[in-house]
């Protein structure tokens, strides 16, 4: 838990209540794939100096992160979005780096959740 401060396990419990374990597993997978792509997009856009594209890439990370309880990731995405919008590039490379690190930590945490859920229920449509 120290590894992932501000990780809200209540969010996973909410997903389970909403749609059950198979649904939760599917959502975790969607989150991992989608966020990975978006962080890569943000990194590339920042390297290209396209701050509008940075803003657009991190925006959906915010609410997606909220849905799986990745609070730190959400806060970072919020900060990056605001800076990109203000066309303030100075801290963006570092922050996007932090975003990637936070995502790695969240991924590890979600893998654990996934492990505990898969042992209980294997979704028939999981890939």
């Amino acid at each position: 838990m120290n590894e992932v401060p501000n990780f809200d396990h209540g969010a996973i419990a909410r997903l389970q209540r909403l749609g059950g374990d198979a649904f939760t597993l599917k959502m975790i997978q969607l989150f991992l794939d989608y966020t990975r792509t978006k962080i890569e997009e943000a990194r590339q856009a920042q390297a290209d100096g396209n701050l509008l594209a940075v803003e657009h890439a991190v925006h959906p990370i915010k609410s997606s992160a909220g849905n799986v309880g990745a609070s730190r990731l959400r806060d970072l995405a919020t900060e990056i979005e605001a800076l990109a919008q203000a066309k303030n590039n100075d801290r963006l490379p570092d922050l996007i780096q932090d975003l990637a690190k936070s995502f790695a930590a969240v991924s590890a945490e979600l893998e654990k959740v996934r492990g505990s859920l898969s042992s209980v229920a294997m979704p028939p449509d999981s890939k």
């Binding site: 997903l15 909403l18 749609g19 649904f23 599917k26 959502m27 969607l30 989150f31 989608y34 657009h56 925006h59 959906p60 915010k62 609410s63 997606s64 909220g66 849905n67 799986v68 919020t78 979005e81 605001a82 919008q85």
Partner: protein, 267 residues
């Protein structure tokens, strides 16, 4: 995703426009839990295309989407509705914004873009449910309203507006609300007098009331005038008072709808 699933209880067709697949799936699952089936679109352009195939009653619209964001998509939907207002199939889609509450997204901006309501993300079940029921309530009251005053006629009158000038609609409404009760009372007093001038006076007042009611889309009043004329033609003046009472009641409904339309015309 072609056929729109229709909720058995409410018959409401719902579309969720949201670019994050995770949020989209969560929203669809939440709607399912609340008893609504819905379709999904992953950006504003897709939402517009979907709306052209299926006349959705409610759209849950993410504000920030690639291609076409929620504000622009809403704007285009409202433009399209305005252009089609005079057609018999004219309808208005209820749009609920899903905002991330940043400097870019504000409730003010949502309403200015033509959205009806907003909920913040991540979307919570009770907020979603409340917003949906607000939308359904509005839809029901709109349907009731359309039974009293024909929206197609009103839309036609709105189009008479010249650029930069106040439209004639409010003036027509005021005139009608002033004249119609007077005409109805003329019919009532002529019927109760029941003398040689009664028939002519009833026909005259009824024809005037029917004409002005049709002009403003107050179709039930116009139909009641027809019935009154028919009754008089059959020499059954005794049957007139209940018809007059019904017309009075309908005029009250028409008055409240027209007052509502007037306030909308002002903004």
């Amino acid at each position: 995703m072609n056929a729109a699933p229709v909720n058995a209880a409410t018959r409401a067709r719902i579309l969720v426009a949201e670019d994050s697949p995770l949020n989209l799936q969560v929203a669809l699952k939440q709607l399912e839990r609340l008893g609504f089936a819905a379709d999904g679109a992953t950006d504003g352009a897709q939402a517009l295309a979907a709306l052209q195939r299926v006349p959705y009653d409610i759209i849950l619209m993410d504000c920030q989407m690639p291609e076409l964001n929620g504000y622009e998509a809403t704007w285009q939907i409202r433009e399209r509705e305005r252009a089609q207002a005079a057609e018999p199939s004219a309808k208005r889609t209820y749009i609920i914004a899903m905002t991330a509450n940043t400097q870019t997204d504000s409730s003010q901006k949502c309403l200015e873009a033509g959205m009806d309501d907003y909920i913040s993300k991540p979307v919570e079940l009770p907020q979603l449910e409340a917003a949906l029921y607000r939308g359904l309530a509005e839809r029901a009251s709109t349907k009731g309203r359309e039974a009293v005053v024909d929206p197609v006629v009103i839309a036609g009158l709105r189009q008479l507006r010249m650029p930069g000038k106040p439209g004639p609609l409010n003036e027509l409404i005021d005139l009608y609300l002033q004249e119609a009760p007077r005409q109805l009372e003329q019919i009532a007093s002529a019927a109760s007098r029941n003398d040689e001038s009664s028939l002519a006076q009833i026909f005259r007042a009824s024809a005037a009331l029917k004409g002005s009611s049709s002009n403003l889309g107050a179709r039930n009043v116009a139909a009641l005038c027809d019935e009154m004329e028919q009754t008089v033609r059959n020499w059954s003046l005794a049957d007139l008072p209940p018809l007059i009472d019904r017309t009075r009641e309908e005029l009250n409904r028409v008055r409240s709808v027209l007052e509502q339309i007037k306030t909308e015309e002002k903004d």
